[in-house]
Amino acid sequence: MNDFIPGRPAPEPPQSPRLSPSPLERRLAGLRGDAPQRSLDARALAALAANPGCGRRAVLDAAGVDKTDLATRLGNPAPFGQSPFAISRGLGFERRVKADGCTVLLDLLREQLRLPEDSAPVVFAELVDDPGLPAGRVASARVALAAAAARPGVWTVLDQPLLRLEVAGSTAHLEPDLVVVRPDGRWTVVEIKSFPILDGGADAVKVGAAARQAAVYVLALRETAAALAGVEPVRDPYREPEGLAGAPDSTALLVCPKDFGNQPTAAAVDVRKPMAVTRRQLDRLTRVEQLLDVLPTGTGFGRDRSDGQLAAAVGALQAVYSPDCLSACELGFHCRAEARCAGSVETLGRGVRGELGSFHTVEQALAAAAAAVTAPGGTHADTAGGTPSDTLADTPDDGDAESALRLARAAALRAEALQTAALQAAAPVGGAG
């Protein structure tokens, strides 16, 4: 079960199966230095969607830098962790779902995908499961899928197959909980999660994360299927590929405990939207090369670096901080400290900048508000000798002026309201309290 928890160690660190690394891979490996590689996995790929603009995260993930370790060395350790109770319950539930030859699971699959009753035999694909042999695992999964495709009318269950996805010149390894090849030839990704489906509904944030993760798996399966069919993968988000290339179903099965118990129940989740988003984000990962180009020579994140060198290296990567990062990225607290230090308005929330236009720091914005407020006649409407726009007439840029004008209006209204309230509180009678 790959519950989407930042900071949880990846199940394994598979090495790239290719013999010679690509130039980009070599550059990224250089950045990583002697630190162990964290493989680009489904979580990392799905996390691209959380903050796709962040170059810092893009480079560190692509280079396989362990961000948890990095955060600790930077003095802002990631606050993530998972309770042992939750872990043991999750593992127990996963065992339960896969018990009895997945009988319950296949029933849920039939029910949720509205498949007809069948008595088709169930085959469990033999997969290489040695974590030290990622290439063998990938190959055996591919062989198993090809064999299942050549064997219609049979259920084939692939338990934790390892899939490969080429991403901007580097390789990601993905491990879905289960892939089921149905008697009708379609492949369904099964995600097992430990949050409950209560009265048919579930935590929408968690379902969303599961859907994005499943989308990555479907994309990887589509690539595999296209390769098996000998065709190019379809890129149009609204067009389903035909034939074998279209075998991977864009509807995934989410299996969760039912209500307050431990019985498995399931829901079909349409992952076409997250597939479109992820595909585009993956295509954009090529920009990692451009991000690397601007790094000072000698930048690296290896263990041999001093804390100061590490901080400088991280600082050289442009981050796009938002408070959402605190719950999604190991470096969230570090980037927050940096953003607060710079006084950037993003620390107050993602939506804040939309209100402030061209102002990027708290100081700038407050100065603009104050400039107008303290200008003669700007404070109170009833004593105003001129409109606020007069007081800003000498501002050279009218884009800034418009932002400042709005801030000044807000500041004047706020000051007036607080003053009114203070006067009312001071009045002997008629107070609301």
């Binding site: 307050f260 431990n262 929330g349 409407a381 807000a410 209204l413 309230a421």
Partner: protein, 529 residues
């Protein structure tokens, strides 16, 4: 987030502490609220681990479960919770106001007087945050359909293998009601402290970070010598020598490192003692667990009371009694439903109930927005900035009349000096806020360059040609007009559930007390893995 609250947050950054976002307190606070901090067992859905509750800040009641997977102990906790909460909840049902109203008999058209009871007061429950509200809802969902051995006997049905203590299902119904009421904007039966504080203060951090009660309070009331940001960071991250947070999460989830470092080993020791049938040791281990849980609950408990102190220092908004009356009605009607022996609230609303609830919430949201604006100049400032209201001093009043009728009616023109820019064309209807009576006006002209807006008063000036004294503002007087109506409109009538039309699937399938088809077959919970 609005520009005004963004500005307030920036001021908080500058000042190093939170700044006011309201000039009055916008929620009713009971004299003696029930304060409650629940903790949930990690990984289990709706499984309680501990509850700290009470009305006296010095002596909270602590309820704990030594082994969250032990179903009997879980229900024992819920039974204890019911014993603490139900007498208090039910106690408000005895003292009532009698209200009479005239009702028309639909058949005969005859008017008769109807007397209704409205409970004089209602309970108020305070929890740390929205997650605790949801957790109480989960507890309500998991318990209200249960049968106790007694009720099963009364109904002549098999209680099943897991009967629950007698009063637990009733507690479930009350929790469900409180949580449902909490969805109604402006309601105050069940309140979350982070919501309350967040409504009244702007911190120098994001709304997301404000969800952390410790960090939020650190900004509002920072300890001497520290800025809000510093104190908040300590609240979020500072740990003791054993790696435990100095400010534990306000729940219901616990810190994973508390679970792994302290709780899990303690539970293992407890289980071991039980396995050995060593009652004395088991009791001692249980006391250890209770002490661990008390230690992580107590800081949150104290913070809730600290928050209450801060809120009580604010003057109450003028409309609070009116809105609290809505809460009293809500409490009274639930009391009546239970007294009438009605079944527990269903798992899902039927089409009509869902539509009614939505209509009520929309109406109450509108009413809340209006009342907050009328009660608080800072709330009105939001509307002024958005071009939905204008306020300023009257600079000129010109008598004018509507001569179209038999007798001329006063329609004076009032010119206001204001920098507000109402988003409306001439002729747009306006409503006077804070006037002596409800009064309509229309926008006549606006001159932003000169900072002048002229409006024409349309009513509320009496029946004579000359306006009643005091009904027309004088020059120099401060006035405020809104572009939005100052009363929430009534919601349109909806059919009875049994008249649900074909477009919505027809009448819902009737449920009987003994067979509830859409319920999970109780008991759904088994021992965890």
């Amino acid at each position: 987030m609005s520009l005004l609250s963004t500005l307030a947050r920036m001021e908080a950054v500058r000042d190093g502490r939170a700044v006011p976002l309201a000039t009055v307190r916008h929620r009713h606070l009971a004299d003696r609220p029930m304060v409650l901090v629940p903790l949930a067992a990690a990984g289990e859905a709706g499984a309680p681990l501990a509850v700290m509750l009470g009305q006296d800040r010095e002596s909270p009641v602590l309820l704990t479960v030594p082994q969250p997977l032990d179903r009997d102990r879980r229900f024992a906790l819920l039974a204890d919770l019911a014993a603490e909460l139900l007498p208090w909840l039910e106690g408000f049902g005895t003292e009532v106001d009698l209200l009479t109203r005239e009702v028309k008999d639909p058949a005969t058209g005859e008017k008769t007087e109807q007397v209704r009871e409205l409970c004089t007061n209602a309970p108020q429950l305070l929890v740390p945050g929205p997650a605790a509200v949801e957790f109480l809802g989960l507890l309500g969902r998991s318990t209200r359909f249960r049968r106790s051995a007694e009720t099963a006997l009364d109904e002549g049905v098999d209680p099943g293998p897991y009967p629950v203590p007698a009063r637990v299902p009733l507690l479930g119904r009350w929790l469900t009601h409180l949580r449902d009421r909490a969805q109604v904007p402006g309601s105050s039966l069940l309140l979350a402290m982070t919501d309350l504080l967040g409504r009244h203060w702007a911190t120098g951090q994001s709304r997301l970070e404000d969800q952390h009660l410790g960090a939020l309070l650190a900004w509002i009331d920072p300890p001497a010598g520290r800025t809000g940001a510093e104190a908040a960071l300590l609240a979020e991250t500072a740990r003791d020598g054993h790696g435990q947070l100095l400010c534990p999460p306000a729940g219901p989830t616990t810190d994973p490192r508390f679970d792994s470092g302290l709780l899990a080993p303690a539970i293992t020791r407890y289980d071991a003692a039980r396995k050995l049938d060593d009652a004395v040791a088991a009791q001692a281990r249980e006391a250890e667990i209770a002490a661990l849980l008390e230690a992580v609950l107590r800081p949150t408990w104290d913070r809730l009371w600290q928050g209450l102190d801060l809120l009580r220092a604010l003057p109450a908004a003028a409309h609070l009694p009116e809105r609290w009356e809505g809460d009293r009605w809500s409490y009274t009607s639930h009391r009546d439903r239970i007294a009438a022996g009605e079944p527990p609230q269903p798992v899902r609303d039927d089409a009509v109930t869902a539509a009614r609830k939505l209509a009520q919430r929309e109406r109450e949201q509108t009413r809340l927005d209006i009342q907050e604006a009328l009660d608080d100049p800072l709330a009105m400032a939001e509307h002024r900035l958005a071009g939905e209201a204008l306020a300023g001093r009257v600079v000129a009043v010109e008598a004018a009349y509507d001569e179209t009728g038999r007798s001329p009616k006063p329609r004076p023109l009032v010119t206001v000096r204001t920098s507000d820019r109402p988003h409306g064309d001439p002729g747009r209807e306006l409503y006077r806020a804070g006037g002596p009576t409800a009064q309509k006006a229309e926008l006549v002209s606006a001159d932003p360059a000169a900072g002048l807006v002229t409006v024409r008063l349309l009513n509320g000036m009496g029946r004579r040609k000359e306006p009643e004294p005091g009904s027309v503002p004088e020059p120099g007087e401060q006035v405020c007009f809104t572009l939005f109506e100052l009363t929430a409109r009534q919601s349109a009538p909806l059919p009875e559930p049994e008249d649900t039309p074909w477009t919505h699937g027809g009448p819902p399938v009737t449920r009987t007390a003994t067979a509830q088809p859409d319920l999970p077959t109780a008991p759904a919970d088994e021992e965890g893995a």
